[in-house]
């Protein structure tokens, strides 16, 4: 917490320097702009603003008379009613988890594009243990974690021992995982909805019927928000994010994983076991995605449908991680933000298609990739202002003479 406090204090100080200062110390301006924390936050906020403006522009082109209403829906639906806000939090729990999975892998030099496979396997382990074995919710989440970890370990193993790029293994095991889960679901009659009196043969059972103890508890929050969507899932996700922050930044273990990502040879030279680190990074990343699957499917609302499509939720982890700068604390914010505008996007239908939100998110990510450009432009602007000031001063002096 101190770290966060410090960050905000620092941030305020820097802002002061820029806007209130101080002709005597122009170098401070450049110092504050070149500091990574400040410019990355400014860049993130700027890219969000540009993304939203782009979305508004698109709405204007598609339907000028309703564009204002559309933008308003995107921006305020999430806080317009308690139950909408509950939905934002409900969606953000799995988003934060898959974002953490991708972000953790990024931090350790790996690109885990397989979060969707790990998420699917995690969901299956959670549902299987909950429905077939009657596990309570916390044990089912642990099972989800184990499933995700197992599926994450495979790309790590292939990379460490066979030198296969983790991107290709993850892509392959996304599909293998999804097909395998479908196959296993079909051959476990007990997990399917119609065993429990439902009438749908290609969907997992309703948890409220099959095993109510496996539903993540609500602790009265559902009454507070007046919404069935509300449960403690998002708090679990935030707690895990904080744990990941500590592990990555404050422990030797986290340092070793990051070191292997930066430079495998250097870390081997320094006496670290690179193979172990790669596999462990992928195991942890997979476990995080698996927990995400557990948190989503143990709410008792969503059921797993047997389809031949990869789940989109896992892929959404990539933008969440990128927007959060792969920092676990940033991922909490970006996960909630993306869930927020997605809930806003659903309110756009049927006037506009909700994919406009995806376009906005894509523009935000593209702009955040351009953070260097944003930074340079900012610096140029400030330098120009400085020049103008100096010119003004000179003119004033000459006028005095």
């Amino acid at each position: 917490m101190d770290k966060i406090k410090m960050f905000f204090k620092d941030f305020a100080k820097r802002l002061k320097h820029i806007y209130l200062s101080d002709k005597d110390r122009p170098s401070m301006i450049q110092n504050s702009l070149s500091s990574p924390g400040f410019s990355s936050l400014t860049a993130s906020i700027l890219s969000v603003v540009i993304g939203l403006l782009f979305g508004f522009f698109l709405l204007l082109i598609l339907n000028p008379s309703k564009a204002g209403m559309g933008l308003q829906r995107i921006l305020v639906t999430g806080i317009s009613a308690p139950d909408k806000f509950a939905k934002v939090l409900y969606m953000s729990a799995p988003l934060i988890m898959v974002g953490l999975a991708v972000g953790f892998a990024f931090k350790t030099g790996l690109f885990n594009i397989g979060a969707t496979g790990q998420y699917t396997i995690g969901a299956f382990f959670a549902l299987f243990s909950a429905i077939v074995w009657g596990f309570p919710w916390y044990a089912a989440i642990l099972a989800a974690m184990a499933g995700g970890a197992l599926w994450g370990a495979i790309p790590g193993f292939f990379k460490a021992f066979f030198n296969v790029n983790e991107v290709i293994t993850s892509i392959m095991f996304n599909w293998i995982g999804m097909f395998l889960v479908n196959l296993l679901c079909l051959n476990t009659p007990k997990i399917i909805s119609d065993y429990w009196g439902g009438n749908i043969g290609n969907r997992t059972a309703n948890l409220a019927v099959a095993n109510p103890s496996a539903i993540i508890p609500k602790w009265g929050l559902d009454k507070l928000f007046d919404s069935n969507y509300m449960n403690i899932g998002v708090f679990i996700a935030v707690l895990i994010a904080i744990c990941m922050f500590v592990i990555l930044n404050k422990t030797t273990f986290g340092y070793e994983l990051k070191a292997c990502g930066y430079n495998r040879n250097a870390s081997v030279y320094a006496g670290m076991n690179a193979k172990r680190s790669i596999i462990l990074s992928m195991v942890i990343s997979g476990a995080l995605a698996g927990i995400g699957g557990g948190l989503y499917y143990l709410t008792g609302i969503g059921n797993y449908n047997i389809e031949k499509l990869l789940l989109a939720m896992g892929f959404n982890g990539i933008p969440v991680a990128l927007l959060g700068g792969s920092n676990p604390l940033g991922i909490i914010l970006s996960g909630i933000f993306i869930s927020y505008i997605q809930v806003g996007g659903e309110a756009l239908q049927p006037t506009f298609s909700k994919e406009i939100i995806d376009i906005i998110i894509a523009v935000i990510i593209y702009m955040s990739a351009l953070s260097l450009l944003v930074k340079l432009t900012l610096e140029k602007l400030i330098r120009r202002r400085k020049k103008d000031k100096i010119l003004h001063c000179c003119e004033a002096k000459e006028a005095k003479k």
């Binding site: 097909f179 079909l186 376009i359």
Partner: protein
């Protein structure tokens, strides 16, 4: 024997987009830019060219000149893919942005844009752009009489034939020759291995990287159209992960054209077996378990992994890929 001809024919049909897109990925990576946006570029190429096809169909010009319309559609898909890829080039060459991030953004943008555009053009909820029937070249147009049964080779090559197949083979040959037998190709590859060295002898690294990404955009755009034609049933704002599969085929093919060619066929043949398994006599049907087709659906991915585990000890990516070129760095 007919069933084998069908399997082989479908294999060719599905290998074509894989080859095109994987070659595209290779062009870009050989110049030093990781192009993870292949999926998005495919979607854009398919989207724009399918819109074009349905427009010329509506105007009646298409049915009068079917194959010139398809040829134009191919050119349009190439152009739109190239333009879309320029966003990646601009971000990763000029602005030295992280290439994975830029690519992910483009991957996300493309299908969303496709859905929004097809809604805008065709009305609410209308996300499928139908492709007219005349794009296919029927055996009759090859001069096979309508009442005659096709022989083995006819069944394999011309039963389901689109103009994209010969264009793809031509493009494959041209790209391979350009990359390995011309000055341009050597320079492009040098920029992916050691850009500083290339720069020191006067090669424009930025220019070469732009060219690499442009080529990949062109090939992936055509690949998107080829995939949509192969699947049939119209364009539905997605290419079902084929861009990522092409990425896998490229790595599997070790960034080399001929190996990519082989890898694409290996992958495609196992991919085609899944829907055909029940009609191939000697394959087990797994009647004891439900959903036995999933075992076949898993097959191409499993086979790829097994082959990779044995072959990729020697695999070597272009050395400078993914690293933005900075003139000042050592």
């Amino acid at each position: 024997m007919n069933i084998f001809a069908d399997v082989l024919g479908l294999t060719i049909l599905f290998a074509v987009p894989l080859i095109l897109v994987a070659m595209g990925g290779m062009c870009s990576e050989r110049s030093g830019i990781v192009n993870i946006a292949l999926e998005g570029i495919m979607v854009i190429g398919a989207l724009i060219s399918c819109i074009f096809l349905s427009m010329v169909n509506a105007s009646g010009w298409g049915i009068a000149h079917p194959q010139s319309a398809v040829m134009l559609a191919i050119l349009i898909s190439a152009a739109s893919g190239t333009i879309y890829a320029m966003f990646l080039a601009f971000a990763s060459v000029n602005l030295k942005a992280d290439q994975t991030i830029g690519g992910t953004a483009l991957n996300m943008l493309a299908p969303a844009f496709a859905i929004v555009l097809s809604w805008a053009l065709q009305g609410q909820g209308q996300t499928t752009i139908f492709i007219p029937n005349w794009v296919r070249i029927t055996p009759q147009q090859f001069g096979v009489p309508a009442d005659e049964a096709l022989n083995f080779f006819e069944r394999m090559f011309i039963n389901k034939f689109f103009l994209t197949t010969p264009v793809a083979i031509l493009l494959f040959a041209i790209i391979t020759i350009v990359l390995y037998k011309t000055k341009f190709g050597l320079r492009l590859r040098a920029c992916g291995e050691h850009p500083q060295a290339a720069d020191s002898v006067g090669v424009s690294v930025y220019g070469m990287r732009y060219a690499g990404v442009a080529l990949s955009g062109m090939l992936a755009g055509v690949g998107g159209l080829a995939f949509t034609l192969a699947v049939g049933g119209g364009f539905q704002s997605s290419v079902a992960g084929y861009g990522f599969l092409a990425l896998a085929v490229m790595i599997f093919g070790n960034w080399k054209p001929l190996r990519i060619f082989g890898a694409a066929f290996l992958f495609a043949v196992f991919k085609v077996i899944a829907p055909m398994a029940s009609s191939i006599p000697f394959l087990p049907t797994f009647s004891g378990i439900k959903g036995g087709e999933y075992l076949y659906l898993m097959l191409p991915y499993l086979v790829t992994m097994i082959v990779l585990a044995f072959t990729s000890k020697k695999s070597r990516a272009p050395k400078a890929e993914g690293i933005p070129y900075d003139k000042g760095s050592r």
